[in-house]
Symmetry: C2
Subunit: 575 residues, 2 copies
């Protein structure tokens, strides 16, 4: 059965299942969400109004047994950045949605009343039902109650109170195989889902399966692909220490943004490092290794227990730990885990929200290092939607505005993540130019600047950074279309067998004969589609800039500043 | 003695008095502030950082005895809109600054410590002194204490607590001849002054005088000019009822934005009208007629007393009364006057702040119509800088963001004032295209759409509106450069003797021979200078749009919407 487009209109509460337009057929994941948003959303619309659309799309390989292919893309006009937005997450939804034959789910319109709704998808149906029980509840409660209630293995996509309150740091959560949470984290798409009054979406594939055009070729390609992933050194480090292996690495590089981006090293880095966390997890009977979706061979996720050996949080990422840790100077992993759990439950992007708290600390709302205070702020202010909570829940830019702080680390109003662009200059280009607002995943120059993957480029020099970021952003846009986790990129950059195997997988799945050039062209075309949307929304070169303090304030210990000229930054788009 | 440029550097606390660069010589008021900001401020800088500059300039005719020539322009990059900003006010400062031989005062940099400062200007000196006594005090206290302390007739320019807290609705206040307050209201320039840690500026002209090149011609021209103003019917209505004469007029036209821009008429319009206010002022021993600066022959200001016949507020304008009245559905003039006094004392733009409260009422923060609640909100939240107060004090856009409200009447993040663009379509073009963010003064199409001044154009039709707004915006930019109050425009549009007399005044003052075409070209060139700044700051056609609800929601009673196409709006700039 050919894949279909599932469509939900929240204005008149109607749904439809339609054939895939020919122009969308070659797309999946980010390529598809960005194509649909570009074609169907007025770039100047209010992101929380009825003219915006929220689009979910599994990747081109999602629903197959291909290793690491379970990422779900979500796209819309972002209420945080006002740009186009794609954000992807693990969990089970991408695989199960693909098994429903769903190429994309498009949610449009907005109810005229105050009711809340839930959406259910099966291979043959897409329905809207009023929802009352779970409204106002945290994500953990939603997935727990739905897990008990729903028959068989269904996927759950949900928003927490932050999304209901339309906070622009609100994320969308996706249930993982153990009933824990993964997040379409960045850009406030949880607020878009909230603006459409949808509390959750369930996906029941029943006995739906994804068809493979050439099963034998597919199996062979998957074997080669999986081997490349497993053999990779960085994959192995991720499996042992999680992404948090980076705390010590980035601190050593002097690029760990500390105390609201005033320092490049955190004195207490050892206390929050991946190595420390690994030991603590083992001591407390957690799981240092865990997959966020079926078929993942890297397993960078983990289950982190509290002192009493009870579950505290899962998928405890470097960026989350950095943001509440070094950036807010919080030294206790337990405080950071507590904050992480609260943010997951409320449905908040941990990067945006924690960087916002760092700015609030600079404003004197609370002291740097006050982990319990940060947790209280999250629980009692953000969670209850008080005015202070709304200021924080609308992200770092909102806090800067509210309190008149000028050291606000954002690009296009999205918080800059865990790599200071003064000491990893490739990231300066990525943050400035990506169509998404400051986003490390969209062109992870850290790989080549710091980790020695895909060659070496001096992190403190401008040389080679523009070309590096450009190549990475193009490749990432293509990878984000496959449903693959971005962590395949380490193997793809260094193992000559990896990328051909990935292309073979796509060809075998659809009976195509794509080449490496086709994949590069796909990446370029996605970036240009996204940029055209942003330009029509009012964005231009002046928006592709970092805040002025990155140019004016040298970052210890290297005491370097961002020194790209406007012309150099703009040359990124020469392709 | 030739005019000079007075300069203050707040980073190193130095000052200078320099010759006027040749390129600035023909400029005054808005033309000069916009020229200086364009030449000296990086358009992408943070408006509250050290790279922004705050520029004050008297008009070309300020300091002379020319009628109505006492407006002081203030310019900077706006922290509210992020565009260039010029805002002008009455009071005594423009005249006295001109008499100091000050062509412009440029304040740059930012102190690195937390101290506050005051600036004093005389014809020979410009000095910086640390200030402690008046920091944290309201504007009324500042002018009262300075009036007692300062020798002779000095001008005072001050910010209130809102400016100190860098709220983006903060204004700059200028003392009037009676020690009351006038405001450089819009665009948050009070926050820029606060960011430079300047609490107040005093101006002591001693025996300084403005030189007139041709005194006899000047006297003759001034006689003709004054007569044109005094003879004008609208001037006379303004003298009798103040600008608040407009409540009934605009209500009758169905263009009085009511209940956060959901209706075009306010049931209780009679209770807040200029006619009602006039009677009340007389009953209570106030002054229905009062000038905001020496030499004004229109006298649209007034002194409004409370029930006990004590002073409550002065310069009680239509836009302020509309915003807290109809837009927030507050029916009591006394509540509105109380709110006006609090906002003046805190140093807040009454339009921005009251529209922000209207959005907060839509969000459910308080009830529509709750005047005492609005006063409490202003006093206890905004005045004390609580989180809710900061949300409100940062304007309508900030409130919309905080509470997820989508009906937010702003253009370029500045609140739309007292004329609904669905029922006065000329204002749709002005709001959308002006370089200032939504601003009625920059192209007052109400004159021709509603008041029958300068011809007639149907307010409900698109026809002729673009040309009308263009002509008005060009003329206004020129008038704003002269130091003239914009209310001379009514006479200028309808009395053939008025504009030639104004040009004669400028020629006699400087010994020039400008023509009407020169004035038009000046206006065009100012608009283009301002637009170029905005473009370099990242603004483009997509920013020249009204919020989508003006297109989607018909406004009773005419049930019309804004129906200009993007191409029509953009054609405004074809000159």
């Amino acid at each position: 059965m050919a894949d279909k487009i599932f469509r939900v209109n929240m204005t008149d509460l109607t749904t439809s299942i339609d054939d895939v337009p020919e122009a969308w057929a070659g797309h999946g994941g980010r390529g598809l969400t960005s194509t649909i948003v570009s074609e169907e959303v007025d770039p100047t619309c209010h992101p929380l109004g009825p003219r915006n659309k929220l689009v979910f799309a599994p990747g081109l390989l999602s629903g197959t047994v291909a290793a690491n292919s379970g990422r779900l893309s979500a796209g819309a006009k972002s209420p945080l950045t006002n740009t186009i937005k794609e954000t992807n997450a693990g969990g089970t939804a991408a695989q199960l949605m693909a098994r429903c034959g769903c190429k994309a789910l498009i949610i449009e319109g907005q109810p005229k009343d105050d009711k809340w709704y839930a959406i259910s998808m099966t291979p043959d149906s897409i329905t809207i039902a009023e929802e009352t029980d779970l409204v106002g509840k945290g994500n953990y409660t939603v997935v727990k109650e739905l897990k008990e209630k729903l028959e068989g293995k269904q996927a759950v996509i949900t928003i927490g109170p932050a999304g209901e309150m339309k906070m622009t740091a609100a994320n969308i959560s996706v249930m993982d195989p153990d009933g824990n949470l993964r997040s379409n984290g960045r850009g406030g798409l949880g607020a878009v889902m909230g603006s459409k009054k949808i509390k959750f979406i369930t996906v029941d594939p029943k006995d739906g399966k994804v068809e493979i055009a050439k099963p034998d070729e597919f199996k062979a390609a998957n074997r080669a692909f999986g081997k490349a992933l497993v053999d990779n050194q960085i994959s192995q480090a991720l499996a042992t220490y999680g992404t948090n292996v980076l705390v010590n690495v980035i601190n050593e590089a002097g690029a760990l943004p500390t105390k609201n981006f005033t320092l490049g090293q955190f004195e207490a880095h050892d206390k929050i490092s991946g190595e420390t966390m690994h030991d603590l997890i083992n001591e407390r009977g957690g799981k240092p290794k865990h997959n966020c979706h079926a078929g993942c061979v890297i397993q960078c996720s983990q289950i982190f227990n509290d002192k009493d050996k009870n579950y505290k949080t899962a998928g405890f990422e470097y960026e989350s730990i950095w943001a509440m840790g070094a950036d807010c100077c919080v030294e206790s992993l337990d405080d950071i885990a507590e904050a992480d759990q609260i943010m997951d439950d409320l449905g908040l992007d941990t990067i945006e929200t924690s960087v916002a708290i760092g700015v609030a600390m600079e404003a004197g709302v609370l002291e740097f290092g006050d982990g319990p205070g940060a947790c209280k702020l999250l629980r009692d202010e953000v969670g209850k939607g008080t005015p202070l909570g709304r200021i924080i829940g609308n992200g770092a830019g909102s806090v800067g505005l509210a309190f008149g702080v000028t050291r606000v680390p954002v690009v296009k109003n999205q918080a800059i993540p865990a790599y200071d662009p003064r000491a990893v200059k490739g990231m300066a280009i990525t943050y400035a130019t990506t169509t998404m607002g400051a986003d490390h995943t969209s062109g992870y120059a850290v790989a080549t600047n710091i980790l020695g993957v895909g060659g070496t480029v001096d992190p403190l020099s401008k040389e080679g950074q523009i070309e590096l970021s450009r190549n990475l952003q193009i490749a990432t846009a293509a990878i984000d279309s496959t449903g693959m986790c971005l962590f395949i990129a380490f193997a793809a950059l260094d193992d000559p067998d990896c990328l051909p195997a990935l292309i073979d997988l796509i060809n075998a799945r659809y009976g195509l004969s794509l080449t490496g050039d086709d994949v590069t062209n796909l990446g370029k075309s996605i970036l240009k589609t996204e940029r055209a949307f942003n330009q029509a929304a009012g964005f231009g070169p002046a928006d592709d800039r970092l805040p002025e303090f990155f140019y004016d304030e040298p970052l210890p210990p290297h005491n370097t500043v961002v020194d790209f000229t406007p012309e150099e930054i703009d040359s990124f788009w020469n392709f």
